[in-house]
Subunit: 216 residues, 2 copies
Amino acid sequence: MRLAELSEHSGVSTATIKYYLREGLLQPGRRTSATQAEYDERHLRRLRLVRALIQIGKLPVAAAREVIAATEDESLDHHMRLGAATWALPQGPAAMEEDAAHQAASEAVAALLDRLGWDAEVALAEFAPAYRTLLASVAALNRLGYPCDVEHLLPYGRLAAELAVSDLDMVQKQPTPEGQIEAAVALTVLYEPVLLSLRRLAHAEESARRFAAKRA
Amino acid sequence: MRLAELSEHSGVSTATIKYYLREGLLQPGRRTSATQAEYDERHLRRLRLVRALIQIGKLPVAAAREVIAATEDESLDHHMRLGAATWALPQGPAAMEEDAAHQAASEAVAALLDRLGWDAEVALAEFAPAYRTLLASVAALNRLGYPCDVEHLLPYGRLAAELAVSDLDMVQKQPTPEGQIEAAVALTVLYEPVLLSLRRLAHAEESARRFAAKRA
Protein backbone atom coordinates (compact mmCIF):
# COMPACT_ATOMS: atom_id res chain seq x y z
CA MET A 1 0.00 0.00 0.00
CA ARG A 2 1.00 3.65 -0.49
CA LEU A 3 1.74 6.11 2.31
CA ALA A 4 -1.78 7.57 2.09
CA GLU A 5 -3.31 4.11 2.49
CA LEU A 6 -1.00 3.27 5.37
CA SER A 7 -2.23 6.45 7.04
CA GLU A 8 -5.86 5.53 6.41
CA HIS A 9 -5.50 1.96 7.71
CA SER A 10 -3.51 2.93 10.79
CA GLY A 11 -5.31 6.14 11.71
CA VAL A 12 -1.90 7.86 11.93
CA SER A 13 -1.52 11.07 9.88
CA THR A 14 0.91 11.06 6.94
CA ALA A 15 2.91 13.84 8.63
CA THR A 16 3.35 11.68 11.74
CA ILE A 17 4.27 8.63 9.65
CA LYS A 18 6.94 10.69 7.86
CA TYR A 19 8.24 11.83 11.24
CA TYR A 20 8.45 8.20 12.47
CA LEU A 21 10.29 7.27 9.25
CA ARG A 22 12.83 10.09 9.72
CA GLU A 23 13.34 9.11 13.37
CA GLY A 24 13.95 5.46 12.48
CA LEU A 25 10.91 4.26 14.45
CA LEU A 26 9.27 2.88 11.30
CA GLN A 27 11.22 0.77 8.84
CA PRO A 28 11.41 2.33 5.30
CA GLY A 29 8.96 1.08 2.67
CA ARG A 30 10.03 -0.66 -0.52
CA ARG A 31 10.95 2.08 -3.03
CA THR A 32 8.88 1.84 -6.23
CA SER A 33 9.96 5.16 -7.77
CA ALA A 34 11.95 8.24 -6.84
CA THR A 35 9.01 9.62 -4.85
CA GLN A 36 6.97 6.56 -3.89
CA ALA A 37 7.29 3.53 -1.63
CA GLU A 38 5.17 0.50 -0.85
CA TYR A 39 4.19 -0.44 2.72
CA ASP A 40 2.73 -3.67 4.05
CA GLU A 41 1.29 -5.42 7.09
CA ARG A 42 4.61 -5.22 8.94
CA HIS A 43 4.49 -1.43 8.73
CA LEU A 44 0.95 -1.43 10.08
CA ARG A 45 1.98 -3.62 13.01
CA ARG A 46 5.00 -1.44 13.73
CA LEU A 47 2.88 1.72 13.69
CA ARG A 48 0.58 0.15 16.23
CA LEU A 49 3.55 -0.60 18.50
CA VAL A 50 5.03 2.88 18.08
CA ARG A 51 1.71 4.47 19.00
CA ALA A 52 1.41 2.24 22.07
CA LEU A 53 4.88 3.27 23.22
CA ILE A 54 4.76 6.97 22.42
CA GLN A 55 1.13 8.00 22.71
CA ILE A 56 0.03 5.74 25.56
CA GLY A 57 3.29 4.79 27.26
CA LYS A 58 4.60 8.38 26.88
CA LEU A 59 8.07 7.10 26.01
CA PRO A 60 10.54 9.64 24.63
CA VAL A 61 11.42 8.93 20.99
CA ALA A 62 14.94 7.78 21.89
CA ALA A 63 13.60 5.23 24.39
CA ALA A 64 11.03 3.96 21.89
CA ARG A 65 13.79 3.55 19.30
CA GLU A 66 15.80 1.47 21.78
CA VAL A 67 12.83 -0.78 22.57
CA ILE A 68 12.16 -1.29 18.87
CA ALA A 69 15.80 -2.05 18.13
CA ALA A 70 15.68 -4.73 20.83
CA THR A 71 12.60 -6.35 19.24
CA GLU A 72 14.61 -6.64 16.01
CA ASP A 73 17.88 -8.05 17.37
CA GLU A 74 18.02 -11.41 15.62
CA SER A 75 21.20 -12.47 17.40
CA LEU A 76 19.07 -13.29 20.46
CA ASP A 77 16.75 -16.24 21.04
CA HIS A 78 13.03 -15.61 21.47
CA HIS A 79 13.12 -15.41 25.26
CA MET A 80 16.10 -13.05 25.21
CA ARG A 81 14.51 -10.81 22.60
CA LEU A 82 11.37 -10.56 24.72
CA GLY A 83 13.56 -9.69 27.68
CA ALA A 84 15.74 -7.19 25.84
CA ALA A 85 12.72 -5.37 24.47
CA THR A 86 10.95 -5.04 27.80
CA TRP A 87 14.21 -4.23 29.63
CA ALA A 88 14.55 -1.20 27.38
CA LEU A 89 11.20 0.10 28.64
CA PRO A 90 11.69 2.91 31.14
CA GLN A 91 11.20 2.05 34.80
CA GLY A 92 10.68 4.07 37.92
CA PRO A 93 13.73 5.60 39.57
CA ALA A 94 16.03 2.96 41.02
CA ALA A 95 18.82 4.88 42.68
CA MET A 96 20.53 2.60 45.17
CA GLU A 97 21.59 3.62 48.64
CA GLU A 98 23.66 1.00 50.42
CA ASP A 99 22.18 1.27 53.90
CA ALA A 100 20.44 -1.01 56.40
CA ALA A 101 17.09 -0.57 54.60
CA HIS A 102 18.71 -1.68 51.36
CA GLN A 103 20.24 -4.71 53.06
CA ALA A 104 16.87 -5.67 54.55
CA ALA A 105 15.27 -5.21 51.12
CA SER A 106 17.83 -7.51 49.47
CA GLU A 107 17.09 -10.19 52.02
CA ALA A 108 13.33 -9.81 51.70
CA VAL A 109 13.47 -9.97 47.90
CA ALA A 110 15.78 -13.01 47.96
CA ALA A 111 13.39 -14.76 50.36
CA LEU A 112 10.45 -13.77 48.14
CA LEU A 113 12.00 -15.26 45.00
CA ASP A 114 12.79 -18.42 46.90
CA ARG A 115 9.23 -18.75 48.21
CA LEU A 116 7.84 -18.09 44.73
CA GLY A 117 10.14 -20.67 43.19
CA TRP A 118 11.42 -18.16 40.62
CA ASP A 119 14.78 -18.72 38.96
CA ALA A 120 16.95 -15.94 40.37
CA GLU A 121 19.77 -16.63 37.95
CA VAL A 122 17.90 -16.23 34.70
CA ALA A 123 14.86 -14.12 35.40
CA LEU A 124 16.36 -11.94 38.05
CA ALA A 125 19.93 -11.18 37.08
CA GLU A 126 20.82 -8.36 39.44
CA PHE A 127 21.19 -5.89 36.61
CA ALA A 128 17.60 -6.35 35.41
CA PRO A 129 15.86 -2.96 35.65
CA ALA A 130 12.73 -4.48 37.19
CA TYR A 131 14.82 -6.18 39.86
CA ARG A 132 16.49 -2.88 40.71
CA THR A 133 13.15 -1.08 40.83
CA LEU A 134 11.74 -3.74 43.14
CA LEU A 135 14.74 -3.53 45.46
CA ALA A 136 14.63 0.28 45.55
CA SER A 137 10.88 0.29 46.25
CA VAL A 138 11.15 -2.23 49.08
CA ALA A 139 14.08 -0.30 50.57
CA ALA A 140 12.02 2.92 50.40
CA LEU A 141 9.18 1.21 52.29
CA ASN A 142 11.68 -0.01 54.90
CA ARG A 143 13.18 3.47 55.31
CA LEU A 144 9.73 4.95 55.87
CA GLY A 145 8.88 2.24 58.38
CA TYR A 146 6.03 0.67 56.39
CA PRO A 147 5.66 -3.11 56.44
CA CYS A 148 7.40 -4.76 53.53
CA ASP A 149 8.76 -8.13 54.62
CA VAL A 150 8.39 -11.36 52.68
CA GLU A 151 4.93 -12.06 54.14
CA HIS A 152 3.70 -8.70 52.81
CA LEU A 153 5.36 -9.17 49.43
CA LEU A 154 4.17 -12.73 48.82
CA PRO A 155 0.56 -11.91 47.85
CA TYR A 156 1.92 -9.42 45.30
CA GLY A 157 4.38 -11.94 43.93
CA ARG A 158 1.83 -14.73 43.65
CA LEU A 159 -0.61 -12.49 41.84
CA ALA A 160 2.11 -11.21 39.52
CA ALA A 161 2.91 -14.83 38.63
CA GLU A 162 -0.75 -15.48 37.79
CA LEU A 163 -0.91 -12.34 35.66
CA ALA A 164 2.22 -13.38 33.80
CA VAL A 165 0.56 -16.65 32.79
CA SER A 166 -2.47 -14.83 31.44
CA ASP A 167 -0.27 -12.15 29.76
CA LEU A 168 1.97 -14.72 28.07
CA ASP A 169 -1.13 -16.60 26.89
CA MET A 170 -2.20 -13.38 25.14
CA VAL A 171 1.28 -12.97 23.66
CA GLN A 172 1.36 -16.53 22.36
CA LYS A 173 -1.89 -15.99 20.46
CA GLN A 174 0.12 -13.86 18.03
CA PRO A 175 1.03 -16.15 15.13
CA THR A 176 4.61 -14.95 14.39
CA PRO A 177 7.67 -14.53 16.68
CA GLU A 178 7.91 -10.85 15.66
CA GLY A 179 4.23 -10.36 16.49
CA GLN A 180 4.76 -12.01 19.86
CA ILE A 181 7.61 -9.69 20.76
CA GLU A 182 5.68 -6.60 19.68
CA ALA A 183 2.64 -7.75 21.64
CA ALA A 184 4.78 -8.44 24.74
CA VAL A 185 6.14 -4.90 24.67
CA ALA A 186 2.82 -3.25 23.92
CA LEU A 187 0.85 -5.26 26.48
CA THR A 188 3.47 -4.61 29.16
CA VAL A 189 3.01 -0.88 28.66
CA LEU A 190 -0.71 -0.81 27.98
CA TYR A 191 -1.84 -3.07 30.84
CA GLU A 192 0.13 -1.19 33.52
CA PRO A 193 -2.47 1.60 33.87
CA VAL A 194 -5.23 -1.04 33.69
CA LEU A 195 -3.67 -2.89 36.62
CA LEU A 196 -3.02 0.21 38.74
CA SER A 197 -6.48 1.66 38.18
CA LEU A 198 -8.16 -1.67 38.95
CA ARG A 199 -6.16 -1.88 42.19
CA ARG A 200 -7.39 1.56 43.20
CA LEU A 201 -10.98 0.69 42.32
CA ALA A 202 -10.64 -2.54 44.29
CA HIS A 203 -9.43 -0.48 47.27
CA ALA A 204 -12.53 1.69 47.02
CA GLU A 205 -14.77 -1.37 46.81
CA GLU A 206 -13.07 -3.15 49.72
CA SER A 207 -13.01 0.03 51.79
CA ALA A 208 -16.74 0.55 51.20
CA ARG A 209 -17.40 -3.02 52.36
CA ARG A 210 -15.41 -2.54 55.54
CA PHE A 211 -15.97 1.07 56.51
CA ALA A 212 -18.83 2.77 54.69
CA ALA A 213 -21.84 3.93 56.65
CA LYS A 214 -24.77 1.64 55.84
CA ARG A 215 -26.64 2.79 52.78
CA ALA A 216 -30.37 2.71 52.18
CA MET B 1 10.38 17.45 70.85
CA ARG B 2 12.20 20.40 69.30
CA LEU B 3 12.75 20.92 65.56
CA ALA B 4 16.29 19.50 65.78
CA GLU B 5 14.97 16.33 67.43
CA LEU B 6 12.17 16.01 64.89
CA SER B 7 14.85 16.18 62.20
CA GLU B 8 16.94 13.54 63.94
CA HIS B 9 14.02 11.13 64.49
CA SER B 10 12.64 11.53 60.98
CA GLY B 11 15.89 11.69 59.02
CA VAL B 12 14.58 14.84 57.29
CA SER B 13 16.85 17.89 57.42
CA THR B 14 15.71 20.93 59.41
CA ALA B 15 15.82 23.02 56.22
CA THR B 16 13.41 20.60 54.51
CA ILE B 17 11.14 20.50 57.56
CA LYS B 18 10.98 24.31 57.54
CA TYR B 19 10.12 24.19 53.84
CA TYR B 20 7.30 21.69 54.50
CA LEU B 21 6.01 23.95 57.30
CA ARG B 22 6.00 27.01 55.01
CA GLU B 23 4.23 25.04 52.27
CA GLY B 24 1.55 23.81 54.65
CA LEU B 25 2.52 20.16 54.20
CA LEU B 26 3.38 19.80 57.88
CA GLN B 27 1.09 21.13 60.60
CA PRO B 28 2.70 23.83 62.81
CA GLY B 29 4.14 22.76 66.16
CA ARG B 30 2.83 24.04 69.49
CA ARG B 31 4.55 27.41 70.14
CA THR B 32 6.48 27.42 73.41
CA SER B 33 8.26 30.76 72.92
CA ALA B 34 8.71 33.38 70.22
CA THR B 35 11.33 31.25 68.47
CA GLN B 36 10.55 27.67 69.56
CA ALA B 37 7.85 25.10 69.02
CA GLU B 38 7.18 21.57 70.25
CA TYR B 39 6.53 18.69 67.85
CA ASP B 40 5.14 15.23 68.58
CA GLU B 41 4.35 11.81 67.11
CA ARG B 42 1.76 13.26 64.75
CA HIS B 43 4.44 15.41 63.15
CA LEU B 44 6.69 12.38 62.73
CA ARG B 45 3.85 10.43 61.09
CA ARG B 46 3.03 13.34 58.79
CA LEU B 47 6.68 13.71 57.75
CA ARG B 48 6.75 10.04 56.82
CA LEU B 49 3.67 10.52 54.64
CA VAL B 50 5.04 13.67 53.00
CA ARG B 51 8.29 11.89 52.16
CA ALA B 52 6.37 8.96 50.68
CA LEU B 53 4.35 11.31 48.48
CA ILE B 54 7.09 13.71 47.39
CA GLN B 55 10.31 11.70 47.42
CA ILE B 56 8.99 8.32 46.34
CA GLY B 57 5.68 9.14 44.66
CA LYS B 58 7.24 12.22 42.97
CA LEU B 59 4.10 14.24 43.57
CA PRO B 60 4.35 17.99 43.02
CA VAL B 61 3.98 19.95 46.27
CA ALA B 62 0.51 21.24 45.30
CA ALA B 63 -0.76 17.69 44.68
CA ALA B 64 0.74 16.47 47.97
CA ARG B 65 -0.99 19.33 49.78
CA GLU B 66 -4.32 18.32 48.24
CA VAL B 67 -3.88 14.68 49.29
CA ILE B 68 -2.99 15.73 52.83
CA ALA B 69 -5.94 18.12 53.06
CA ALA B 70 -8.20 15.23 52.09
CA THR B 71 -6.78 13.01 54.86
CA GLU B 72 -7.76 15.75 57.34
CA ASP B 73 -11.30 16.51 56.18
CA GLU B 74 -13.29 15.57 59.28
CA SER B 75 -16.63 16.24 57.60
CA LEU B 76 -16.30 12.86 55.84
CA ASP B 77 -16.75 9.39 57.27
CA HIS B 78 -13.78 7.03 57.37
CA HIS B 79 -14.48 5.38 54.01
CA MET B 80 -15.02 8.72 52.30
CA ARG B 81 -11.82 10.17 53.76
CA LEU B 82 -9.86 7.19 52.51
CA GLY B 83 -11.44 7.72 49.12
CA ALA B 84 -10.94 11.47 49.02
CA ALA B 85 -7.28 11.12 49.94
CA THR B 86 -6.50 8.51 47.32
CA TRP B 87 -8.63 10.27 44.69
CA ALA B 88 -6.37 13.28 45.06
CA LEU B 89 -3.38 11.15 44.06
CA PRO B 90 -2.35 11.84 40.49
CA GLN B 91 -3.34 9.28 37.88
CA GLY B 92 -2.25 8.56 34.37
CA PRO B 93 -3.72 10.63 31.58
CA ALA B 94 -7.42 10.04 31.17
CA ALA B 95 -8.44 12.21 28.24
CA MET B 96 -11.68 10.89 26.86
CA GLU B 97 -12.46 10.52 23.20
CA GLU B 98 -16.06 9.61 22.53
CA ASP B 99 -15.58 7.08 19.75
CA ALA B 100 -16.42 3.44 19.08
CA ALA B 101 -13.37 2.28 21.07
CA HIS B 102 -14.58 4.31 24.05
CA GLN B 103 -18.06 2.84 23.73
CA ALA B 104 -16.65 -0.70 23.61
CA ALA B 105 -14.49 0.11 26.65
CA SER B 106 -17.51 1.35 28.63
CA GLU B 107 -19.33 -1.87 27.90
CA ALA B 108 -16.32 -4.05 28.76
CA VAL B 109 -15.75 -2.22 32.04
CA ALA B 110 -19.44 -2.39 32.98
CA ALA B 111 -19.43 -6.14 32.27
CA LEU B 112 -16.23 -6.50 34.29
CA LEU B 113 -17.67 -4.77 37.37
CA ASP B 114 -20.75 -6.92 37.09
CA ARG B 115 -18.72 -10.14 36.89
CA LEU B 116 -16.56 -9.05 39.83
CA GLY B 117 -19.63 -8.18 41.89
CA TRP B 118 -18.29 -4.69 42.61
CA ASP B 119 -20.71 -1.95 43.60
CA ALA B 120 -20.68 0.39 40.62
CA GLU B 121 -22.65 3.06 42.42
CA VAL B 122 -20.36 3.62 45.39
CA ALA B 123 -16.92 2.43 44.40
CA LEU B 124 -17.08 3.39 40.77
CA ALA B 125 -18.91 6.66 40.50
CA GLU B 126 -18.13 7.76 36.98
CA PHE B 127 -16.10 10.73 38.15
CA ALA B 128 -13.62 8.60 40.10
CA PRO B 129 -10.17 9.21 38.61
CA ALA B 130 -9.28 5.50 38.68
CA TYR B 131 -12.46 4.68 36.79
CA ARG B 132 -11.61 7.24 34.13
CA THR B 133 -8.05 5.94 33.86
CA LEU B 134 -9.33 2.40 33.46
CA LEU B 135 -11.80 3.42 30.77
CA ALA B 136 -9.17 5.43 28.87
CA SER B 137 -6.66 2.57 29.05
CA VAL B 138 -9.13 -0.02 27.81
CA ALA B 139 -10.22 2.33 25.01
CA ALA B 140 -6.56 2.80 24.02
CA LEU B 141 -6.10 -0.98 23.82
CA ASN B 142 -9.23 -1.22 21.69
CA ARG B 143 -8.04 1.53 19.34
CA LEU B 144 -4.72 -0.23 18.86
CA GLY B 145 -6.48 -3.53 18.22
CA TYR B 146 -5.08 -5.36 21.26
CA PRO B 147 -7.35 -7.76 23.13
CA CYS B 148 -9.12 -6.11 26.04
CA ASP B 149 -12.57 -7.60 26.45
CA VAL B 150 -14.08 -8.72 29.70
CA GLU B 151 -12.41 -12.15 29.52
CA HIS B 152 -8.99 -10.48 29.30
CA LEU B 153 -9.78 -7.99 32.04
CA LEU B 154 -11.22 -10.48 34.53
CA PRO B 155 -7.90 -12.00 35.72
CA TYR B 156 -6.64 -8.46 36.39
CA GLY B 157 -9.81 -7.53 38.26
CA ARG B 158 -9.85 -10.70 40.38
CA LEU B 159 -6.21 -10.22 41.36
CA ALA B 160 -6.80 -6.55 42.15
CA ALA B 161 -9.61 -7.60 44.47
CA GLU B 162 -7.29 -10.05 46.27
CA LEU B 163 -4.61 -7.37 46.61
CA ALA B 164 -7.15 -4.94 48.04
CA VAL B 165 -7.98 -7.40 50.82
CA SER B 166 -4.31 -7.77 51.72
CA ASP B 167 -3.72 -3.99 51.40
CA LEU B 168 -6.68 -3.10 53.61
CA ASP B 169 -5.52 -5.67 56.18
CA MET B 170 -2.23 -3.75 56.34
CA VAL B 171 -4.10 -0.46 56.67
CA GLN B 172 -6.29 -1.77 59.48
CA LYS B 173 -3.24 -2.75 61.52
CA GLN B 174 -2.72 0.98 62.14
CA PRO B 175 -4.31 1.72 65.52
CA THR B 176 -5.87 5.15 64.80
CA PRO B 177 -8.24 6.34 62.04
CA GLU B 178 -5.72 9.05 61.07
CA GLY B 179 -2.94 6.46 60.90
CA GLN B 180 -5.15 4.26 58.72
CA ILE B 181 -5.79 7.04 56.24
CA GLU B 182 -2.12 7.99 56.07
CA ALA B 183 -1.15 4.35 55.59
CA ALA B 184 -3.76 3.93 52.85
CA VAL B 185 -2.33 6.85 50.90
CA ALA B 186 1.31 5.89 51.44
CA LEU B 187 0.81 2.21 50.65
CA THR B 188 -1.17 3.04 47.51
CA VAL B 189 1.78 5.07 46.23
CA LEU B 190 4.60 2.93 47.55
CA TYR B 191 3.30 -0.46 46.45
CA GLU B 192 2.62 0.60 42.84
CA PRO B 193 6.27 0.24 41.74
CA VAL B 194 6.47 -3.02 43.75
CA LEU B 195 3.52 -4.39 41.82
CA LEU B 196 4.70 -3.25 38.39
CA SER B 197 8.25 -4.49 38.88
CA LEU B 198 7.03 -7.86 40.18
CA ARG B 199 4.80 -8.18 37.11
CA ARG B 200 7.80 -7.58 34.84
CA LEU B 201 9.92 -10.06 36.77
CA ALA B 202 7.10 -12.59 36.56
CA HIS B 203 7.01 -12.04 32.77
CA ALA B 204 10.73 -12.80 32.61
CA GLU B 205 10.29 -15.94 34.72
CA GLU B 206 7.28 -17.19 32.73
CA SER B 207 8.95 -16.36 29.43
CA ALA B 208 12.07 -18.31 30.46
CA ARG B 209 9.88 -21.30 31.32
CA ARG B 210 8.13 -21.22 27.96
CA PHE B 211 10.76 -20.04 25.51
CA ALA B 212 14.32 -20.14 26.85
CA ALA B 213 16.83 -22.48 25.26
CA LYS B 214 17.48 -25.34 27.69
CA ARG B 215 20.22 -24.49 30.13
CA ALA B 216 22.91 -26.79 31.51
